[in-house]
Symmetry: C2
Subunit: 358 residues, 2 copies
């Protein structure tokens, strides 16, 4: 097992990465109170709930199984958690445990941020995407019908338990979605890591355990370092949104159920690369390299059929990364060197979208 | 104008107390961005909205008018704010302004805590209760059908503007509800202040401006000092809940619409005094003094007709101040010296409730 720390002063917490962690004593040892609200979704619960529960016999445990999918990431679903916690009369000393992917982690984290003004929560991410990205850093929240992740809070977990063996049961499409975020770390800040991913992409897709562990560790290390520098996204943390402004527009356009988050981010990174190219920053070959790695990871590299440039602009204008209505994008000076463009030229954006939409 | 500070490191903020502050430049000067979401309720808006708006012409302003009353303090009402902010495409740099009493302040504060993971917010409390208590300290939230204030966050305002002239239009019943919290400060930590209140209660009820200002200043000073010592209620801040565990039970029993919060707290303080007496802490004359000051402030000193001891216990067991299911109460060693009783004897509680319920 490897342990990384997210250094946030009194909110510092460990990320434990290893094999069969959900069967280890670690699970019980990080929980501080004696009440546990374990939240999962239908798919994950059928595979792993019993194993986790069998490690929590020392606690008073209640379980909530959420419906599966991003389209359930809303205030209504949140209420399932609140109602169960209140019915069980759980105090503010309850620990909420998120056993699932990014959707479960975001919802449970936000429930923990707001139940009785804040309880402990523990992340047990079960998808590659949540293991390398969303479980670390304390961003929690739900979608609003008028925008993705518009309602939320920064609320750090007490620990993140990454059990890499769980990925054995992860569908290939979900693996690809997770690889999008792994690739993102290479593109945004580490071109050597990008090359390493290119060299090991087939093994990653084939779930080679040691290669996968290395990718997860390196991704978490990069995420932890960025979050430690800028917990509340006043600066450098924004780079983690590479591909996400376009991605969120795609997800919103498809009603949060037509694609996986990582798939939308894959397309979004390609669009960000193209905008960077038209602005004279990235070379044509850099764009091709970006497209190629995303394609090899089985990610979509063009917007969904029928989605127009106007659809993009409509959804991007309410993206919460926009400061005061100006169009803010994460672009790249070069591969491995992303930056925040505060006022992206609308003409360039329009050109790229016109060329890519179909 | 007097200014007090709530000392919370980087979250330190001023409480400005004075005459006609809503007409002063102060209002615009504390807002950092250029977008403002001004939220009020029907009653307050009809009296003060135009005056506040006329001071915000330099900003992009949207307005949300909430229905009046504690029974609207829920997630559904919160969505009126989110929807307006998203429709106006307000960024995370918006400042939400709460113009109203405790209900408006709590809802708007929670909206600000969670809109795009946190925006600035400014409190302009318009009732005595919110001026002396709820606008200071960053407790925000909404009720759940299974418990009061069960969903919320700690989110400090950027400033609190207390315009004492606004109280001129406050109904007598609301004045009494506010006086309950003023009396609370005397009972929980300052017996000299309690005596001062007794000496000036008629002037307070008559809204004598200088006496009222003094009561507000002293109350805010006590609140600010306690919050600065214990922002997240791990210790001393719990004393501010004197009378509130009983009070919340009364409010829940009446469905959050049958009484004012301050009225329930008045009854709750009397019950806390009685429990303290039966436990051998307060003298009979201390109880009589507590009952007398509440009565003089026109507060109810007995539970609502028909509310049984079982009704109390049922609602108190889910009160969020209870740690892990034990019955936790704020009691008094003596008048002006409250403490946290972690395990109140159920027999004493039952005796007092049996004697007081009717």
């Amino acid at each position: 097992m490897k342990t990384l720390n997210v250094d946030l002063g009194e909110r510092t917490y460990p990320i434990h990465i290893g094999h069969n962690l959900i069967d280890s004593d670690l699970l019980g040892s990080v929980i501080r109170g004696h009440q546990v609200l374990l939240v999962s979704n239908e798919t994950v619960a059928s595979l792993y709930l019993d194993r986790v529960l069998s490690n929590l016999t020392a606690f008073e445990v209640a379980t909530v199984i959420l419906p599966d999918g991003e389209n359930h990431k809303n205030i209504g679903t949140l209420d399932l958690i609140f109602s169960e916690a209140l019915t069980k009369r759980f105090s503010r000393n309850v620990t909420m445990v998120a056993l699932g992917g990014g959707v479960v982690g975001d919802i449970v984290g936000f429930a923990a941020a707001t139940y009785q003004r804040g309880t402990d929560f523990l992340q047990i991410p079960t998808t590659l995407l949540s293991q390398v990205d969303s479980s670390v850093g304390g961003k929690t929240g739900v979608n609003h019908r008028l925008g993705k992740n518009m309602i939320g809070a920064f609320h750090q977990p007490i620990a993140v338990l990454i059990d890499t063996d769980i990925l054995k049961t992860l569908p290939a499409r979900e693996m690809s979605a997770g690889l999008a975020e792994v690739i993102k770390y290479g593109l945004l800040g580490d071109v050597a890591f990008l090359s390493w991913i290119e060299d090991h992409l087939d093994e990653l897709i084939a779930k080679n355990p040691s290669v996968l562990s290395k990718a997860i560790e390196h991704s978490c290390k990069m995420k932890a370092a960025i979050v430690a520098r800028d917990e509340r996204e006043h600066g450098v943390r924004a780079l983690l949104n590479l591909g996400h402004t376009f991605g969120h527009a795609i997800e919103a356009h498809l009603g949060y159920s037509g694609c996986l988050h990582g798939e939308a981010v894959g397309t979004g990174m390609v669009l960000a690369a193209r905008v960077s190219h038209v602005m004279g920053l990235l070379s044509e070959s850099d764009v091709i390299r970006t497209v190629s790695i995303c394609k090899r990871a089985n990610l979509p590299v063009r917007p969904p059929k029928g989605m127009t440039p106007n659809d993009f602009l409509e959804h991007m204008a309410v993206d919460k990364k926009n400061i005061d209505g100006r169009l803010r994008l994460i672009l790249m000076h070069s591969l491995g060197m992303a930056f925040v463009e505060e006022q992206a030229p609308m003409a360039v954006l329009d050109d790229v979208l016109q060329a890519c939409c179909h």
